[in-house]
């Protein structure tokens, strides 16, 4: 093929290149996806997590079709290298996301790796996993002085409203 300058400049190219080539990339993503289905929360580099996210959600979409579906079973058996995870996918993960239509995964960045490469790391998880939340919810203490004053204020407003509706 004609070797043009455009081949060397990659402005606007969205497809990422990972590993040794396209096949190597698919194999890598397959391994990461198997780890995700087994552990439901994994820690990898940010770029790999971002790539796997698309495949993880597509896999759940296929699993929702049910294990009797031929295509779904083929996809599952291709993508999950450890075959004991195939029943887990169809029996545990698919029913969990019955009411969700999109967004089965969550990604959160963590501090860079301690090695020489200082790679940007991320945590990828399926929602509804049994671990403590990635972004802990801060509960407001109901008993502090200002919250007690506001509680009294709200109660009085409710009482006044009740009186107004009765009258």
């Amino acid at each position: 093929m004609r070797l043009t300058l455009r081949m060397l400049i990659s402005h606007g190219r969205v497809a990422r290149r990972m590993g040794l080539g396209p096949e190597s990339r698919i194999n890598m993503l397959r391994n990461i996806l198997t780890g995700l289905v087994r552990h439901e929360r994994i820690e990898t580099t940010k770029v790999r997590a971002d790539e796997v996210r698309f495949y993880a959600e597509k896999l759940i979409d296929y699993a929702k079709k049910g294990d009797t579906d031929e295509k779904a079973m083929k996809m599952a058996s291709f993508w999950l290298t450890e075959k004991d995870l195939v029943p887990k996918l169809f029996k545990v993960l698919a029913p969990r996301f019955e009411n969700h239509s999109t967004d089965y995964t969550r990604m959160a960045r963590i501090p860079n790796r301690e090695n020489l490469d200082r790679a940007q790391m991320a945590v990828l998880e399926y929602k509804g996993n049994p671990f403590p939340p990635l972004y802990p919810v801060k509960k407001e203490n109901e008993l502090t002085l200002i919250n007690q004053l506001l509680k009294g204020y709200r109660e009085e407003r409710a009482r006044a409203k009740l009186l107004a509706t009765e009258a």
Binding site: N141, L143, T144, L145, I146, Q148, L149, G152, Y153, E155
Partner: protein, 335 residues
């Protein structure tokens, strides 16, 4: 006509004689201060030699810490100073062996100590103490706000829950002021007086005294003496807790927080007349305050302040049904 002038002369003579007999507020304050200082010195002199006690701390991150402090001289504040500046600035009250202990009161024996802050998981006791301290501050402001010609009598402050929206201070003013109602400007000047006290960051020094000493402290005020007798009969040991803030000595129903600088937003919201009582024309002064660590945004503050202007009935538990009749002398309803 001659009788009228004669009456006027007689009244003027007698009123000046009565005023001359009555000591000025500055003298009363000086006398109370002197008795308080004397009693404080006497209690300090009970521990001539330094004896050591062991204080073990409780709290997040502090469990098991052991401090060796001086008996009768070290206060929970000095224990906090051994820790960090955060503990000194944020702790308002202490729990010594499960009992509420003011921060400036000396420790007598080896004990377990917990420092209480406003951001604990259960600050209910501290909230009540804070409300009591704000009423005490309001009482102090009222005593010093009026001119020397007018007497101000502070009555026993009712214990009001925090959810009622405002703390109160019951006061009886001079009979000459019976027809006076405070304007917005006078409430604002009272607020300014309170803010000055807060800015000075005065400590509330506690002192446990026998009822005879307390009666001597309040020898000029009959209603305070009655309050002292009532509190002494209530307490198991027959002693009464006095607190001194600056040069003002006061009586309180429970522990107060460490110092005035802990309050940040403080406003005197209203003064309601409660009608004639045994001591004269009773008035209830109300205010609203928030501590330094829990400041409110101005929108929230404005709404809470509007609520604090309404009369707070002492001794009434907040109910979800329509409120009962306005009778402040009614004892607290049992539930």
């Amino acid at each position: 006509m001659a009788t009228r002038t004669a009456c006027q002369v007689v009244r003027r003579r007698f009123s000046s004689a009565a005023a001359a007999l009555r000591p000025s507020p500055a003298e009363i304050r000086g006398h109370r201060n002197a008795v308080f200082s004397r009693e404080q010195e006497r209690q300090r002199a009970l521990f001539p030699r330094i004896e050591k006690i062991e204080v073990s701390l409780r709290g997040p991150g502090l469990d098991g810490t052991l401090l060796i402090m001086n008996k009768g001289m070290s206060t929970p504040l000095s224990c906090a100073r051994h820790l960090t500046e955060y503990h000194v600035n944020n702790s308002a009250l202490a729990l010594v062996d499960g009992e509420l202990w003011p921060l400036n009161r000396p420790l007598a024996d080896s004990c377990t100590l917990t420092l209480l802050t406003f951001n604990d998981s259960d600050p209910t006791l501290l909230n009540e103490a804070y409300w009591r301290s704000c009423s005490a501050l309001l009482g102090q402001v009222l005593e010093t706000a009026f001119k020397d010609d007018y007497t101000v009598e502070l009555l026993s402050t009712p214990e009001v829950p925090v959810t009622s929206g405002a703390f109160c201070c019951d006061v009886v003013l001079d009979p000459q002021l019976d027809s006076w109602t405070p304007s917005l400007e006078s409430l604002r000047s009272l607020t300014r007086g309170a803010q000055q006290l807060i800015h000075q960051n005065l400590a509330w020094e506690p002192l446990e005294v026998v009822s005879s000493v307390a009666l001597e402290v309040f020898s000029h005020s009959r209603c305070k003496q009655e309050e002292v007798e009532q509190k002494a009969s209530d307490s198991p040991k027959g002693t009464v807790m006095l607190y001194r803030c600056g040069d003002h000595v006061l009586l309180s129903g429970g522990p107060l927080v460490a110092r005035t600088g802990l309050c940040s937003q403080y406003e005197v919201t209203a003064m309601h007349s409660l009608g004639q009582g045994p001591w004269g024309h009773h008035r209830r002064t109300q205010g609203l305050s928030l501590p330094l660590q829990l400041q409110a945004h101005h929108t929230v503050w404005r709404r809470l302040r509007q609520r604090a202007e309404k009369l707070v009935e002492a001794g009434e538990k907040p109910e979800s049904t329509p409120p009962p009749s306005a009778d402040s002398a009614r004892p607290p309803a049992s539930q």
